[in-house]
């Protein structure tokens, strides 16, 4: 199997031999930061064009098809336009917080990229509390959204921000609990361990019905946490015009917009890692020949394939479902999803203790 391990270790060795350790670490962090930013930008562009094409596919129209081959450069052109636009700050706004908010949202989105394994041995930071880190960092983004809503000095923005706060804080719980049920099966918080544990089958297949329930809850909570339809109450176009980013324009708006798409990528990547084995190819128990053939497909293709499939599902939601109301949204979480996922976690613990999983 092709591995990034060779590349990364040879770069590491070469740097170690050429420079002293401090400079090596500095150069490595610069490389990592550049790669992360490049990935951030590339994902934003790809996902925006993907969303528009998926929407067009659902809505019996063509979608962007003029700029570049098959309209692929449309989002690049849009980004250029947004960069050139004036970034307005409203008169009554709290200027410092107003300008800070998009950066907080974006930085949080970039931080979560760290522990995700994009391919075999290709991970920025294999932290031993990876799952905890993910859920801790992802809750910071709500601060950015609240900040944006409050600092805009706009009632629509404020209402959007309050909705978003209530929503993200609530759905964090069931997202966390459904992630925990996989942690219970694996016995490790480290994402590389979770991937390694799925070598002979993904957890969604190995974990019986509780794993499927956990996955369904996770995908619902993930949609809610990223403020996507049917849970897009923070933006709620027909009610709040644009919700918490009503007053933003130009590149500051683009940062919110990009952060939304990066967040989708991240939650889908986490979903793929936990339930579909991350970069792990599709293996079936002891079928040596079959597993061997599957190994020929590069691990990064597996990872991105699974992630983009989940992204497609989330986009599919957006273009199919109407929006929930704020009280229905909170009822769904506190009255249905949370009790179910608690019970599900209990069930999963019993399965893990008794060793009933495959």
């Amino acid at each position: 199997m092709f591995s990034f391990h060779g590349i990364t270790s040879s770069v590491q060795t070469w740097l170690n031999n050429t420079f002293n350790p401090t400079i090596t670490v500095m150069i490595e962090s610069v490389i990592v930061i550049l790669l992360a930013i490049a990935l951030f930008a590339a994902l934003g562009l790809v996902l925006v064009i993907m969303e528009r094409r998926v929407a067009a596919f659902m809505q019996i129209r063509l979608g962007p098809n003029r700029v570049g081959p098959w309209g692929l450069l449309q989002s690049t052109a849009d980004t250029l336009k947004l960069i050139m636009k004036e970034g307005l700050t409203p008169d009554g706004a709290d200027k410092f917080l107003f300008n800070l908010a998009p950066f907080i949202v974006m930085i949080v989105a970039m931080l979560i990229l760290a522990p995700i394994g994009f391919a075999k041995d290709f991970q920025i930071w294999d932290i031993n509390i990876g799952v905890l880190y993910l859920s801790a960092i992802s809750s910071i983004s709500v601060i950015g959204i609240l900040m944006a809503g409050w600092a805009s000095n706009n009632k629509y923005s404020l209402m959007g921000a309050m909705r978003s706060g209530a929503q993200i804080v609530s759905y964090e719980l069931s997202a966390g609990l459904s992630v925990l049920s996989i942690v219970v099966l694996t016995g490790s918080l480290k994402l590389s361990d979770i991937v390694a544990s799925q070598e002979n089958g993904w957890w969604i297949f190995k974990g019986h019905i509780p794993a499927i329930i956990a996955f369904v809850i996770f995908i619902i909570a993930a949609t809610a946490e990223t403020n996507r339809a049917p849970f897009d109450l923070a933006e709620a176009e027909s009610e709040l015009t644009a919700g918490f980013h009503t007053e933003y324009s130009g590149m500051k708006f683009a940062l919110f917009f990009l952060a939304e798409y990066i967040n989708i990528f991240i939650v889908c990547a986490i979903g793929a890692t936990l339930f579909f084995g991350g970069w792990m190819p599709f293996h079936v128990g002891s079928w040596e020949g079959f597993n061997h053939i599957m190994d020929y497909i590069p691990s990064s293709v597996w990872f991105f394939g699974k992630t983009f499939f989940l992204i497609f599902v989330i986009m599919w939601f957006r273009w199919t479902f109407p929006r929930l109301r704020i009280d229905q949204l909170l009822n769904l979480e506190w009255k249905y999803l949370l009790p179910i996922s608690m019970f599900n976690l209990l069930l999963m613990t019993i399965i893990a203790i008794m060793g009933w999983h495959f």
């Binding site: 809505q59 019996i60 404020l158 339809a229 709620a236 009610e239 479902f321 109407p322 929006r323």
Partner: protein, 371 residues
Amino acid sequence: MVEELGITAEGDQVINIGPQHPATHGVLNLVVTLNGETIKKVEPHLGFIHRSIEKMCESLSYRQFIYVTSRMDYLSSHINNHACALCVEKGLQIEVPQRGQVIRVLMDELTRIASHLLWWGAQAMDLGAFTPYFYAFRERETITTIMEETCGARLTMNYMVPGGVMVDLHPSFQQKVKEFITLIKSKIDEYDELVTGNIIFQNRMKGVGYLTAADAVSYGCTGPTARGSGVHCDVRKIYPYEVYGKLHFDEVLETEGDSFARYLVRMKEIKQSISIIDQLIDNIPDGDFQAKTKAVLKLPKGEFYQRVETARGELGVYIVSEGGTTPYRIKFRSPGFSNLSALDHMAKGGKLGDLVATMGTLDLVIPDIDR
């Protein structure tokens, strides 16, 4: 900051929805008093698209003023024209030939379907589902193409004239309408699958925006808005005009009175309109499509009133004539205006999201309210 946001001591805030807002479908300004997300008061402010159509009509002849009325409720311009033509015919005591009457009814019902389709898409969009809008437009496009062939216009048709219709039907009219009927029958099931049966949609629509039958009557609501509350008010049934008296169709009534009831009324009305078209499309009588009228129309001195059922409710045309070539005074009783007046009553106590959903079920066309 709190003072700047205009939050009162009780924690209420006043928020302006419109005149530029995606939910108002036009230039309507709603001044909404909110407590958190809960609505305490809705105050509609009108007049942003007032073009004084009634005053304009006073300086236009009886043939000309009908064309202005296409711009009132632009989604049912045929029916507006129809009402005016009927009122003028009443004054002149003109008998419209059978063929003209049938063509008029066919056009009315096609317009009603087109209008309800657009409303269906907009309603789903108000609730945050964008895709139905495109599906609705796909089917509506077929109707506008049929209209374009016969009337020469897609939105403001100006097809009804005193005495009948302006020109005869396009040769392919019957065949195209039949094709459309087959198409829409299958598509309605698709709509029900995509939107009506959706659990989120039903939760958003059921139990919000209640309007009792008594309130509907006292606010003067008509059309699907009142019929959703069980008020028997279909002008086509109560005061039949043209060939409606001879046709077999049901007045759709729902007794629940909430947003979902109004939704169901409109969806079922599409089916009723289809059945009306089914009855007429093969039985268009031969003969004249227009009665012989004088070149210059002069209504006798007096007052004339005619009501018709538009897609939104009862449209009344009231003409006062002094015996001249132009009306002395014209007044339109537009359905949207009365239906909007009930919005405060319906939305009070609900959430902000409910306001949008409820306003959607009223099927407001702002130029119809302001005129």
